[in-house]
């Protein structure tokens, strides 16, 4: 069943307004707080087993992982309530901070980076492909214990008479530390590349709100397809790396340190399914897929702009020539 919310004043569709941070009616400017709604809910009639728009009745071809979207015919919000139940219900979400006009601006700037933007990207219509999406994430709090053993050296050298003396002190170093990590986030969508998504970090998790459906009015939200059990080891790998790096950095005062072995155990770990805001653009042009992603909270941009191999080539030649000439000159002087 698909639902959306109607304005009590004029009956139009209510959407979440990013700047106002309220449910808002674009027709009569009515606003209300975002909270679990009990009334004003429109439901679709889905006798034929397919999803229909509650506002205009048109069929909605929802992809498997869609929790919410927008009606292709009338533009009304579509929230598929049965897709956010039980373990599929997000616990929290971070609302958008950057709205469409800001996203458009960042996108156009990104397009131009390459200076050799294909004409396609100069069309106004290209902006229709830039959409606000709530992406599925797992966030985790954990307490870890790391034990590390290392060999360290302190070297001193000085000159006495006509001798050089090198004194080396050898140490055995041991550390046992507990560290707490919180809100370590990892994206739960198979189709979104993990490393690319990681470039969007950090999010500011103070802005986390308890999840309620009205936040999704007017936005696409995606369900996770990688569950807690699959993501947990990936998060552990990152956290393990962080912990061991921290413990290693606590070994100071030596000329050299060699880690002999280290082990990290997870004393506790929990995971929550959350939705994080993302301005997302994906476009296929001449056989190549262009991806632009902007952190919907912080505005950080990720993605390779439509750039020229021509420019890359020019840079290559330029640097090559300069380095080549310098190498020749240095070689001539040395030899």
């Amino acid at each position: 069943m698909v639902i959306n919310f109607n304005c009590p004043q004029c009956g139009a569709d209510l959407k979440y307004n990013i700047k106002k941070k309220l449910l808002h009616c674009e027709h009569c400017d009515y606003t209300e707080e975002v909270r679990e709604k009990q009334d004003g809910i429109r439901e679709s009639a889905d006798e034929d087993g397919r999803f229909h728009c509650p506002s205009c009745g048109a069929v909605h071809d929802a992809k498997e992982y869609d929790m919410s979207g927008i009606c292709a015919y009338c533009g009304a919000p579509l929230i598929i309530s049965e897709r956010m139940e039980g373990s599929y219900r997000p616990v929290k979400l971070i609302p958008f901070e950057y709205d469409k006009s800001q996203a458009d601006e960042a996108f156009l700037k990104w397009c131009d980076k390459g200076k050799l933007t294909p004409k396609e990207f100069k069309k106004k219509s290209i902006l229709n492909h830039l959409k606000p999406i709530y992406a599925p994430y797992w966030i985790s709090d954990s307490v870890v214990n790391t034990k590390m053993r290392a060999r360290a050296e302190r070297v001193r050298s000085y000159i006495v008479g006509d001798e050089e003396v090198i004194e080396t002190e050898h140490y055995s170093v041991y550390r046992d530390m507990d560290i707490e990590y919180e809100n370590v986030d990892y994206d739960g969508a198979l189709s979104l590349d993990d490393e690319e998504m990681h470039k969007l970090d950090p999010y500011s998790f103070e802005a986390l709100k308890d999840f309620v459906a009205p936040y999704l009015a007017g936005f696409e939200a995606r369900q996770y397809d990688m569950g807690a059990e699959e993501i947990a080891p990936l998060i552990q790998k990152r956290v393990r790396g962080y912990a061991e790096e921290h413990v290693r950095s606590s070994i100071v005062g030596y000329s050299s340190v060699m880690v002999m072995d280290s082990a990290t155990d997870f004393l506790s770990m929990n995971m929550d399914f959350v939705l994080l805001p993302l301005w997302f653009f994906e476009y296929n042009y001449k056989g190549k897929t262009y991806n632009f992603m902007m952190n919907g909270q912080t505005g950080k941009v990720v993605g390779e702009p439509p750039v020229s191999n021509g420019k890359a080539f020019a840079w290559f030649i330029g640097i090559f020539v300069i380095v080549f000439v310098i190498a020749l000159l240095i070689g001539g002087l040395l030899l």
């Binding site: 003396v165 950090p202 956290v239 001539g332």
Partner: protein, 282 residues
Amino acid sequence: MIFGSFRKLLTGLYILMITVFSAAAVTAASEQRVYDDAGLFSDSESRELEERIQELKAEQGIDFVVVTTDNTYGSSTRDYADDFYDNGGFGTGSDNAGVLYLIDMDNRQIYLSTCGQEPIRYLNDDTIQWIVGGEALRHVSEGDYYRSALSAIEDTAYYYEENKNSYENGGGSISPSPKGADNGFDLSATELGISGGIGVAAAGGAVGVMKANRGGKVTVTGHDYMKKGAVRINDQRDMFINRTIVRHRIRRDDDGGGHGGGFSSTHHSSGGVTHGGGGHGF
């Protein structure tokens, strides 16, 4: 009587002609500079060498002699070379200045002998070693005797000129460098290749980094996710094990004679003439 005076005149003329021709012959004979006693050169090669030697004499005033032998009759290569030079009456000026290159097939040595103030000065020990150890040696080892002699002539001409300039312009000192050292802009294929390789690596690396960073970078570290103040040290031990000490004497750079040579060692030949020289086995 008329016939008597005419005869005298004719005899006189005849004697004059013979003297002139003999003198010419003698002079011509004393102009020979290639003595191929071991038969290592073809006729045309000998002629080429003679020509080159005459050119050298005209251009730089160096009197150069090329000798080959397959029997030194018990003499050392050095003595053979020196004696040949002295007995041949070669050289210019009051000190018989000149250079002799000997290919000794008996002792299997090539040798360069110098005589006279300027040759001895400008062809010092290091220089002579570069000559006899360079192309001349390479060719003689390959059995190319003609080219060996030619190299000896060319290299001698080269170094003589270099060192002479160095001496005259450098205020009396000679700091020779081996032929073939890069003088800034000699571009060998290796140099080009290496520079090219470095260029490609640098450019490739730079463009690679540019491409990689174009799409954004990961900017978070563990620190960003660590709960503030939530680090507890359960155990921390830095245990001293032992101390090792290494001592070594600092080398002082004052032994070894000055390098970059300028030194010409000399000796006396059996005839009491001062010669410089050096050789190399092959």
